[in-house]
């Protein structure tokens, strides 16, 4: 396969399959969770239904509570660098925005390529640091499984190939770009099947606890 055909392949059929897997997978996983029995709580709430607290916690748990900052904030910051850099690279890069426009009709102004490359570079660096942490921390080693490493790899590959394409590294531009898009496709397709699904589940699990604790008047 030459560069052009890899590019066409990645942009065409693979992209469509990935998108289908993304949508179908998210729906499958959410339905699988919400089709289970819903617990009923007959206790008399202290403070309303808890809905407000649920929504509040979705936002507030984005930053660690004061009690824990000393022990966790540094890794939260590294994780934020990864996440924010990633989001900037995905949503700020003009070719990405054009793709989104073609799919949804939505669009917004892009950022200069240099800014995107910087954000992607920072994000990749943070991701490497997080991997190092995962490989060396006894707690993380105990918890980690295939999903953790595989999802890491799938998150890392589009960043690196994207940077390579941007800086013209790796020879044939079309080939590198094709591989970048392919990596993005695979990431999309995998999202619902591994831990990256947390981008969706996060709001539900935070909201559930926020509501349960909120109706008790307990701190969230």
């Amino acid at each position: 396969m030459n560069g052009a055909s890899v590019l066409d392949f990645a942009r065409g059929p693979v992209f469509e399959i990935a998108l289908a897997m993304l949508i179908f997978g998210i729906a499958w996983r959410l339905v699988g969770i919400f089709a289970l029995r819903r617990p009923v709580d007959y206790s008399e709430p202290r403070a309303g239904t808890g809905w407000g607290s649920g929504l509040r916690m979705i936002v507030s748990r984005s930053w660690p509570r004061r009690e824990f900052r000393e022990r966790v904030l540094h890794w939260d910051i590294v994780s934020y660098i990864f996440h924010v850099g990633y989001a900037v690279a995905i949503l700020g890069y003009v070719p990405h925005i054009m793709l989104i426009r073609n799919l949804t009709g939505l669009q917004w102004p892009g950022l200069p390529g240099g800014v995107i490359a910087f954000a992607a570079g920072l994000s990749a660096g943070a991701l490497l640091a997080l991997l190092g942490h995962r490989l060396t921390s006894p707690v993380l080693r105990r918890l980690s499984n295939f999903d953790d490493y595989f999802s890491w790899l799938l998150a890392f590959t589009p960043l690196v190939t994207g940077l390579m394409a941007y800086y013209g590294i790796g020879g044939n531009y079309q080939m590198v770009l094709g591989l970048h898009i392919l990596a993005g496709d695979i990431l999309f397709a995998w999202l619902p099947f591994g831990k990256i699904m947390h981008v969706i589940l996060l709001a539900f699990s935070r909201g559930t606890t926020g509501a349960a604790y909120g109706r008790r008047g307990a701190p969230i």
């Binding site: 499958w28 996983r29 339905v31 699988g32 969770i33 919400f34 289970l36 029995r37 819903r38 617990p39 009923v40 709580d41 007959y42 206790s43 008399e44 202290r46 403070a47 916690m57 748990r61 984005s62 660690p64 509570r65 004061r66 009690e67 824990f68 022990r71 966790v72 890794w75 939260d76 994780s79 921390s137 006894p138 707690v139 993380l140 105990r142 918890l143 980690s144 499984n145 999903d147 953790d148 099947f193 831990k195 699904m197 947390h198 589940l201 996060l202 539900f204 699990s205 935070r206 909201g207 559930t208 606890t209 926020g210 349960a212 604790y213 008790r216 008047g217 307990a218 701190p219 969230i220």
Partner: protein, 445 residues
């Protein structure tokens, strides 16, 4: 050979004491029962929690056991690994894929046996991990679900299972039977010259007790009576519904938990109580205030309050008046009443009314360290040295306040503090908030 009886179901057979297994089930039967229980417990909430974990490890940083030992096995979410494994392999939306690719192995009996220590000896259900988890996963609720399976399988530490089984037989986990209660109340009445109503047929308020108080801190009962009488409330203790400590909930015995809950509900209904007051006991609060109605299957037809909430209400209403006690004090918020129960302001209102110099434990009441004795851990003797290790954190937190007096509102915490005080030859004793109030009642003119 000593034998014990498994409290529930067809496993009610005999097994040797000391191996921390109950009943004479085969390993396969134990495993099967645990799995059936796990599967029955899964619901949208636990599924969300089990799906959402990103293996970030932050919960370890909040857990007293990890913080004090540095041992990764004490990572909170790791403590529920068997139930997580069972969910992913058998119930979750991706279960067929996990099985197909062999990504989640079936839970084994050896794993369940190995996890007994993590599920019982090293989790007080304190809920600190819930507060740190970026996904907001409420790990103690998963620990409780896992304990249900362990109880069904007869894999509970004997030290915790003993009181649980006794509670089902005698109505009290620590031997505080109806008869013992009646005798206690008779001698407390005589010794202290206080009226302690027992078994009144009608009363607005049913006051309940923890068996720890009956057996270890009977002065608490007198204190409750003096305070209730001072307020002029229409109240009673009932010998058919007094025991609020729900050890069965802690071991994972759902049937026993329900029986203990129903005794209180029926006693309250019998006297047409408008309010049930829960004693200074954290798990009683959790079991009755928050889980009681669900055990009943519908909303309770009366109000349920912790005694500290009731006292704060009465202060506000002007029916409770206190003398001043300006000593410096610090307050240990019992996890199940405050962090997981929502009662944080009431005790502080009481300290303000006393004019006490309250020195809060840092950094915030919500992040308060557990005493280390909750969740049934205080009963498990093989866990003593671990418990003492984590008690160190608590001791330090108390010391840092520089307060002269340590006060709490849970007799189980108090028991743990007493034990820790003894062990470390510490100069601080934990006092009861209700007793402090009773000692400072203003004269009625």
């Amino acid at each position: 050979m000593n034998t014990t009886t498994l409290g529930a179901g067809p496993g009610a057979a005999r097994a040797p004491v000391g191996d921390n297994k109950q009943g004479s089930l085969s390993d396969a039967e134990r495993l099967d029962r645990a799995m059936t229980s796990f599967l029955r417990d899964f619901n949208t909430t636990s599924a969300l929690y089990l799906e959402a974990c990103v293996h970030c490890g932050q919960c370890a940083e909040a857990c007293q056991y990890y913080v004090q030992t540095g041992d990764p096995k004490y990572t909170p979410i790791w403590k529920v690994e068997p139930i997580k494994q069972a969910y992913k392999r058998l119930t979750g939306p991706l279960a067929p894929l996990y099985r197909l690719f062999g990504l989640k192995k079936a839970v084994t009996i050896e794993e369940l046996e190995q996890w007994q220590e993590l599920l019982y000896d090293s989790c007080t259900l304190c809920g600190r991990c819930t507060l740190v988890c970026p996904m907001g996963i409420d790990i103690p609720s998963l620990v409780l679900a896992a304990r249900h399976g362990m109880q069904e399988a007869g894999l509970v530490p004997d030290d915790l299972w003993g009181p649980t089984e006794r509670a089902r037989r005698e109505g009290s986990p620590l031997g505080a039977t109806k008869q013992v209660l009646k005798e206690r109340i008779a001698w407390l009445t005589d010794d202290n010259n206080v009226t302690i109503p027992l078994d009144r047929e009608q009363a607005d308020i049913l006051v309940t007790i923890s068996s720890v108080e009956i057996m270890k801190y009977p002065q608490s009962i007198t204190a409750m009576a003096r305070v209730m009488n001072h307020i002029g409330a229409s109240w009673t203790f009932r010998s058919d519904g007094y025991e609020a400590t729900n050890f069965n909930m802690l071991s994972g015995d759902r049937t026993g938990q329900r029986e203990a809950t129903m005794r209180l509900i029926n006693a309250a209904l019998a006297i047409n109580a408008k309010t049930v007051i829960l004693p200074e006991c954290g798990h009683a609060y959790q079991a009755f205030r928050w889980a009681g109605a669900t055990m009943y299957g519908r909303p309770l037809p009366f109000r349920v309050v912790h005694i500290s909430e009731y006292l704060a209400e009465e202060l506000r209403a002007g029916r409770l008046s206190l003398k001043s006690d300006a000593r410096s004090m610090t307050f240990h918020d019992p996890c199940q009443i405050a962090r997981r129960g929502g009662v944080t302001e009431a005790p502080r209102e009481i300290f303000r009314a006393l004019g006490a110099d309250l020195r809060e434990m840092g950094p915030t009441p919500a992040g308060n360290w557990c005493c280390g004795g909750g969740g049934g851990v205080i009963t498990i003797h093989r866990a003593d040295s671990l418990r003492h290790r984590v008690f160190h954190l608590k001791m330090q937190q108390v010391e840092d306040t520089g307060a002269a007096l340590l006060v709490s509102s849970c007799s189980n915490c108090r028991l743990t503090f007493d034990d820790g005080q003894d062990f470390f030859h510490w100069d601080k004793t934990a006092h009861s908030l209700v007793e402090l109030v009773a000692d400072n009642l203003a004269e009625r003119h």
